[in-house]
Symmetry: D4
Subunit: 160 residues, 8 copies
């Protein structure tokens, strides 16, 4: 039971870092691959097949601009594919989110918010938790800590 | 193992009809509820709890405009929530898709395309298939039929 | 007679600072709370009830991205709720303003411009002035000073 | 204690009709005026003064396109002004909502969603309820009926 | 020397009809194929190879929404690919044009305007004319007739 | 024969600087005023009247966000009003340009591009040239110099 | 002293009809020409020269999509050019208004709102009035009638 | 057999640099010209004619804002014209891409993504390869190297 996290360029690593930290934190096995829908279509296809055999259950694909990577993966697998739109330099991610979410009927991609790498990882874990209920406990803990962080915030109005 | 399909108004039924047909076609048990994040927040909260107990494993929430329903559900459950943005009368769904996808880090919603009810259902089934591999076969059949439909299309150029 | 100013994260404080300064300047009692529609939904609900009992008459809620906070508050209270859209990192606040303003019929949110924290506070004071006419005088003074500031601006064209 | 509902053209009446019905239903006194920020600026100014004297406590202004009416009113009164963006023929209301909400700091307009005339009226009543608590009861009833309408919706899945 | 015109669904035929008429009118050999980047990825790949062998020199791909078809073709061939964005039901083609034009560096798609099928065909012919100068003459005639059509338009102002 | 250049805040001076330089360069008399449609509506109205009497023939109004200044001026004068949309901090000027250009039928504003202060001044001069043909000569010279500047640009490809 | 009204296709006539009616109503001489920036560039250039000689003082150019007509005219004349963006079938005029207003510094186009043909004509008349003060009187009458039309609108609230 | 690369200002050189490097790398002869659709329309026209005679087979035109350069060139030549939208300071290139791609039927421009200079050059080479098959080999090598660059990327997860 693994998550595969795919992106088109090594330069995207900083953007998906928080996804990696979440997966590590939850103890969920994962693989990170640099593969491009347009530059390495055949290697991508080969990888998807191998990944399925190696126990990958959910794909996360990060992409920006004409962001085809998640959709191309979704067309090659029956496993759920999570699309993570990357903020583009020119159109701020408008292009990325629309290219990922607006898939034709029949081949869905589970799209999260622009640059929301953390959410991509959490969504993958929520899916895996359908299979492995021990993850549910960890998700509950995560939400609890997250809640406490909000509640413990202290505001000093005197400084304003 | 059930899917819960929630929307804010009975008038949304025609828009989610194709999701219902997919769920029926795959033989996946499901419930349809009319509940609103803003008009019936307490009933919604109560329903989410009941639904979890009754075996719901994935929520699909359809909403338009300031489409808070999927996010509000996601804040109350650890199960995966699929957000289905409805095309709005004024801004064509731009508001719906952004209100659903752009969730803050920590509480993801799996967003599909605007009015892509079919994709919402298929994504739910892909998630359930992680638990119930028999659904994988049905997904494979679905894709196969879908593929054949494309390949069997005949174009008569003489008419043009 | 108080104003409650709510935001999802302590990091939003700099963005609402000018609202705080306006409320202080007008001598209007107010509370500032860090609470999130998605991370602390129950605490938020509890706070709204307490706040109403403690004399809060207007809520201001600052939020960005899929900005549900103002709408969620509005669904839990009959008091007026002012929504302050925060400029988001990716979509510049397009998502924030649409997620706040485009509420379904029946549950309004009084939306001000993106990052217009000052206007959120002034609008709250205009509402309170319906009850406490002494605030009208202060609003008149504020406008007068604002006007004078514009009229006193001196332009030195020789430098250009 | 009255509400003034202003719009630039008689042809906008169908769009604000639901606001009028809400105000009637709540028994809130109101006036409807056809006045334009650009075509009748002096008459508009005169009316605002008269309206204040005649007991108007909240203004609702409906406008589309370069929708200046709410902002122009807000610059002439200290009372709260609710801006109702009308869906424009060409840009669907994108222009209307931005022209209304994005007011400069110092002169707020309480903006509701595009074509949400009902919400404009409800927001006005919420404001008046700060002064007249009997309106709170009516708002509570309204919300209750609205809630029941959602809960009583019955969905016939057999037809799908 | 042929043009291949590919689209994802038979229902797109009316939208590409004018491209077909242009190709017929110029006497340029062409093939029309219904193939989908997401529903028939393998058949699409196979076709591209066959088409190249059968003398196709330019691909035109029509697609809407998350319009991946032109980019996917471009990733599989070294021949020029023309992307024709189809107006989508929800976002009017904003998604289509961005999904097609915003390709990553290294794999270009020659994008024409939304629903500009005629321009897609003319651009293909301009490319083929680099190889076959007889097409230049036909393009010159086409432009001439087009020019005359504009110049011959008569306006009757008396009717206004 | 004068041009009046109006803006809402002294902080806009750097943005209209190039307009001032053009007017100076052409030797066209002009006045610069800080006046706000919302903060100093009465002073603005008074100034417009005075300006007309003092020989102003064209108004240029720079404004950002819900940019009402040009439209408000246009509603008070029969002289041509040029609207200069200022790039806003949040929505990059989308709000500014729509709030200025989308005026209702009957009260036009001559809108130039976002932050195109130079064009606002040149357009004013083109209008004045209808009255004072000597300006035509200066415009011709300006265009000529502008043309030469383009033609004299030298590109050193060896550095690339 | 004439106005030239140019558009790319006879099919635009219904959209500029109200401009023609305004020009007729004001007794301003005008010419209507069908000429295209892209299909008849040389004829357009020739016409601009002739028009200037024939006494044209202002150009109005209506165009949609990649609306280059006003800008191309502006590059060939020193007279003021008014750009009238036409609502496009696909992008509602977003493309038209940006293609017209966002001209580079040095060559302004006076842009009016999308499909605001009436405003294009009124702006042209305001410009001509700088030369011919008799038009000022007519503009004053027009505004007066326009104002009366607003003030005479009667609203029957009993029907609602 | 040459490519002509045209832009409106010397300051655009850094943005088209990568196009120049690609053309150099492929050994394709090219010319770079600074010419503006609006500031030097006659020189532009003259250059197009000369360029055709001098063996130019494809034009690349880079432009931002109301980006008319590619369309104006396309109206003067039968050769393929590639439009390269430049990211604009205010609207991020939304204006540039729409002004270039949305050409009227009859006069196509092959549009690439915003600031995708490399893709503009590669597309030009793909077109030239229709005539000169030796370029096909170079394109194949380019794609191969590009692929290897992706495949050779190494990710060090330990650092995260």
């Amino acid at each position: 039971m693994k998550v595969a996290l795919i992106m088109g360029s090594k330069s995207d690593i900083p953007l998906v870092e928080s996804a990696i930290r979440i997966l590590k934190g939850f103890g969920v096995p994962f693989e990170v691959k640099i593969l491009s829908a347009h530059r390495t279509p055949d290697d991508l296809e080969r990888y998807i097949e191998e990944a399925e055999k190696a126990g990958v259950r959910v794909f996360i694909a990060a992409a920006g601009g004409a962001a085809h990577l998640p959709g191309v993966i979704a067309s090659k697998t029956l496993l759920p594919v999570i699309g993570l739109p990357i903020k583009s330099k020119d159109l701020m991610g408008f292009d990325s989110i629309l290219s990922i979410a607006q898939m034709p009927e029949g081949v869905p991609v589970a799209t999260v918010g622009i640059n929301r790498a953390k959410n991509a990882a959490l969504l993958a874990i929520q899916m895996l938790a359908l299979e492995d209920p021990s993850l549910l406990e960890k998700l509950r803990d995560f939400r609890q800590r997250q809640k406490e962080k909000v509640l413990n915030a202290e505001v000093n109005l005197d400084e304003i």
